[in-house]
Symmetry: C2
Subunit: 298 residues, 2 copies
């Protein structure tokens, strides 16, 4: 399969769904809408929603039911970037080569745009457009909302971000770096895979296999990101290479060194692939996404 073409097709599907789901602009709150759209359509790779779709389809899911969840995952990811970039946290002026939300719209609107995206994600997941779907679905949807909230919240992404902030400029050990990564990045990657799998109808042992895939991929993804921050080209990344080191961020390269981090990242991608051994070609997109994650140049 052609992974680049696959990613492009799915990205376009996610982008047009995001446009459809976003509430229409209102006059009085125009800047809020513009700020949300600025960050939501700033050229993100849509890794999380694409993972949820690939996992949904690997589990046998068909049709559009995954799209509200895929878009909610991207909204939550985008809100976290907006808040992370704020002067009080990472103080980043650019992201993906464009000025960050608060640089364009000011800090107040950026904080509120993040709050709005997070809230909108839950509204989207809880929304029941079809009148006639079975009540069994409702129990599943509640379970998925619960799973996403867990991954995004204080026991997941927010918790990881707090430890990341508090570790800045300090010498930290490997378990702390692992905590940061499994919570800050890994939890939402894993949730993306699991939400897709569950909505696609995955039961044990398939759900367990996809969970192991998501765990390995989440960690591989963050290590690859850390390595890219050291070695990547600023023009492709859209931010300064080496910015983690300047800020004294707790990263894999800072604890293990670049070469050891690369080895670890490749091992994790192999583990992610191994987790899918019992699956057929329906899991090829997941396999390719895992390889893509460590092969990125930006």
């Amino acid at each position: 399969m052609d992974i680049n073409r696959y990613l492009q097709e799915k990205k376009e599907r996610v982008d047009s769904a995001l446009e459809k789901y976003l509430p229409k602009r209102e006059n009085l709150t125009l800047n809020l809408h513009k700020a949300m759209e600025h960050s939501l359509f700033a050229g993100g790779k849509r890794i999380r929603p694409i993972l949820s779709i690939a996992s949904f389809e690997a589990a046998g899911g068909k049709g559009e039911r995954i799209l509200p969840f895929a878009c909610a995952l991207e909204m939550i990811h985008t809100y976290s970037l907006i808040h992370d970039d704020l002067p009080a946290i990472d103080n980043d002026d650019t992201r993906r080569g464009k000025p960050t939300c608060h640089k364009v719209f000011g800090e107040a609107i950026a904080i509120l745009a993040g709050d709005g995206l997070l809230t909108e994600a839950f509204r989207l997941m809880a929304n029941r457009p079809e009148k006639d779907h079975s009540s069994c679905d409702d129990a599943l949807v509640l379970d998925l909302i619960n799973e996403v909230a867990h991954a995004a919240g204080i026991l997941g992404m927010v918790g990881g971000q707090v430890v990341d902030v508090e570790s800045e400029g300090r010498v930290v050990d490997l378990p702390t770096v692992q905590y940061i990564h499994t919570h800050k990045t890994g939890a939402m990657i894993l949730a993306s895979v699991r939400v897709g799998a569950k909505l696609g109808g995955a039961k044990e042992p398939l759900l367990k296999a996809l969970t192991r895939y998501g765990e390995s991929l989440g960690l591989a993804f963050q290590i690859a990101d850390d390595v890219l921050n050291v070695e990547g080209q600023a023009a492709l990344m859209g931010k300064q290479a080496g910015s983690d080191r300047v800020k004294g961020k707790a990263t894999y390269p800072s604890v293990l060194g670049v070469e050891e981090s690369k080895i670890r990242s490749r091992e994790l991608v192999e583990m992610a692939g191994d987790a899918l051994q019992s699956l057929g070609p329906e899991a090829d997109p997941l396999r390719e996404i895992a390889r893509f994650v460590v092969a990125r140049e930006y």
Copy 2:
């Protein structure tokens, strides 16, 4: 009935439920937990959760099923206060007589504590502790999550907050002040009443009556707050009297004057009472809460 005793009893019920629902403190994220608890247990009156309980019981609801929703409403209210108080928004150093979250824990942790509370609220609502409850409940719970997200989000509280921020220091007309108040405060007050009503089993025309009550009360509540900001005693309010005027906030007193605002607030409380005309003594707490709202001295 003794409204002060009623409020005290319900407040204690909400407080102990909040303590029960909050995730246990973890070592690495200790400051995050402390920051959330600092703001969540800073002496709030618990108006929103108490309204949801009173409305639940007025509609015939019994037992504890309302408590996760009551607590979620308070968590969302608290997150909004933490973010509002940030230097980039209202820049308030004290609230309820205590230092605001970012003054104690720093801006980064305050932003993340707000994010954490908002996310936790949705996790709490989507959580299904009982194994055996009927699937009909699940559809209702999804509807309630949707209602809360709508009230808290860009078409509700966040939208109102954006217009509030952008109106600061400018001459605004009454429709703009009304937009700010119905969205920033009114939407969550109304949602509190409606969530309680729906979970208590209210159907039309009862739901409509309680909705009219919630709409009037929400606006009365904010006007009374604005008047108190002009006239209140700093020691009782826990913040400086007149701070809205200093900041050039768009308020009812700034547009209509204090006396006219008081009249409007009392009219709205009467309208709230009128909406309950078809209800019996089971709605007495709601009637008393409405009177209490404009009779507050702080």
